[in-house]
Symmetry: C2
């Protein structure tokens, strides 16, 4: 298992574990439908970056693939139920190339399926009996829900007076914990090792860099490569570092006009309006600025991560963690 | 602690435990708001029937109040997060005399607060370290989510061809598990005793009787006593035993007219339409029929429950369980 992150069989094994952790069929058609809904996002094939990172971390710590597998599967299940609920909260149209679950089945059934999947996630974690893993998942989901609350709270209150610091506080919670911090730590725990304390700051920095890059690609990428609708974040009114930068550099009248557009319901925004804001972001240099901030966090995170991984026994896996983290935190496609 | 179910200090202790299990405040206002939202339904003061039943069961099994308290608190937390999500799914206006959480904060924030509270529930269960309790909560929530899926699935598919058997399958899952079966079993587990296998069937029967009664009161009760809007279930299009009975006894044309009205969005239903269906339910004898079915289940459940409780050491608590179960399963106010 030297090349954890790119071997197809790893993704297959995780997907099979998730599949086996869920009930298969039921004579009552509505319950049978629930079981299919719980599997839907998993079967659409996510990238499994986070769960593979967890497995690589376990192997780097001298643990086995098998020891990491249940927690990796639970992390995928976490992402699946959270995405079901996020898609409702954000009124998203699509997920992984198909309509979002609530677009297929309506909000009530999708919401309930997310809850049901959430419960099966805890079942997997409980059965795994890895010391400290339960607490790590608790911490991870507490932080993620807090980050989500900040994000949704800004939208609900139509808040645009957001500083770069506010944005970083958001992203550390909403993204960095479950994308980097907890996968690294859970891998150590699966190998029965205490996680290096440096993983936390390294993961926060790398997670921040990853999210800025992800938002950057939503504005500057190509749909073919990025896989989601370009400018979708502007339709959603999502607060990104590019927008924070733009709003701090626009004259008052123009800033008011931009926030007025962004605050409209998704369906009221015209393609021309989205295009005009995209143009402002480009001409104000907000894309370059955000790239610079992402690079700074990426560099700091990678240095810390290198130091924390340097003494671990699994050299190949440690090297892969560095490679994947570098790719995540600096990706431009 | 001889009179568990009616002593105010029991409710206070449960509420205090829930309060202590949740974080208190946070410098970031949105996160602080999340903490307040997680406490909101608990602070509105539910009846705590289920958590008190759990405590009474523990004491009946020779356990202590203290041993049962964490699980009782977790059961309240379960009900609180489920109600937050149910209120979104059912588009409910009110909960415990105040606007539903999503009416106060919007769907996205309320949905996320429900998820956050769900996680804290598992934290309490995990920390309680009661053998078998984790598995019991898993089973309870699996069944409840399945029941909810049946209910929501019928509404989404506009299904009205529901038999009495379909209805019973729904209610056993959606209500009986978390209202009676699991509280009885969790009480035994908190006292380090194996739950009597008869608790399951007893709880299913009593839970069915309770739900039929609850639905009955929604149609036939008075708002002052019942505490919720009378006929609200008809506005919601909720499938109840009274409706199942009515639809099986109406001529085709009238049945089509009734289901047409019931299938409309809540906001399109007029008070006159609701009144006309209420009148049909009365004249068709559906209220009496449902009462009869509830009584049958209540009687069977109470007999089984009596038998299962008869050998337990805590006689006062066992007697209270019988009294409360009788009241729940036969209540007419």
């Amino acid at each position: 298992m030297t090349v954890v992150m790119s071997v197809p069989s790893v993704a297959d094994a995780i997907q099979r574990f998730v599949d086996d952790a869920l009930p298969r069929s039921h004579p009552i058609p509505e319950i049978d439908g629930l079981y299919r809904m719980m599997r839907d996002y998993a079967q659409r094939g996510g990238k499994m970056i986070r769960s593979k990172l967890l497995i690589a971390s376990c192997i780097a710590h001298g643990g086995t693939f098998e020891a990491a597998l249940p927690l990796a599967a639970a992390l995928e299940m976490f992402q699946d139920w959270v995405l079901i609920h996020d898609d409702i909260e954000d009124e998203s149209e699509e997920r992984r190339g198909s309509p979002a679950l609530h677009r297929l089945h309506g909000v009530p059934l999708a919401l309930n399926a997310g809850d049901a999947l959430h419960v099966y996630m805890w079942q997997v974690i409980h059965k795994a009996r890895v010391d400290g893993a339960f607490e790590e998942f608790l911490e991870m989901i507490h932080r993620t829900a807090e980050g989500q609350q900040i994000d949704l709270g800004w939208i609900a209150a139509n808040r645009w007076d957001i500083s770069e610091q506010d944005y970083l506080e958001l992203v550390q919670r909403k993204t960095a914990f479950y994308t980097v911090v907890s996968p690294l730590r859970l891998g150590a725990l699966a190998a029965s090792r205490d996680p290096d304390p440096r993983f936390t700051q390294a993961g926060l920095d790398l997670g921040v860099a990853f999210q800025i890059r992800d938002d950057w690609l939503n504005l500057a990428g190509s749909r073919a490569v990025y896989g989601k609708e370009i400018g979708g974040d502007l339709l959603e009114g999502k607060r990104t570092l590019m927008l924070v930068h733009l709003l701090h550099h626009l004259p008052d009248a123009q800033r008011l006009e931009v926030t007025r557009i962004l605050s409209q319901p998704r369906s009221d925004k015209t393609p021309a309006q989205i295009q005009s804001i995209l143009e402002l972001i480009r001409t104000t240099g907000s894309l370059e600025y955000a790239q610079g901030v992402a690079d700074l966090h990426a560099q700091r995170g990678l240095e810390l991560l290198n130091a924390a991984l340097s003494a671990l026994p699994g050299r190949d896996a440690a090297q892969q963690i560095i490679e994947v983290s570098t790719a995540l935190a600096t990706r431009s496609a």
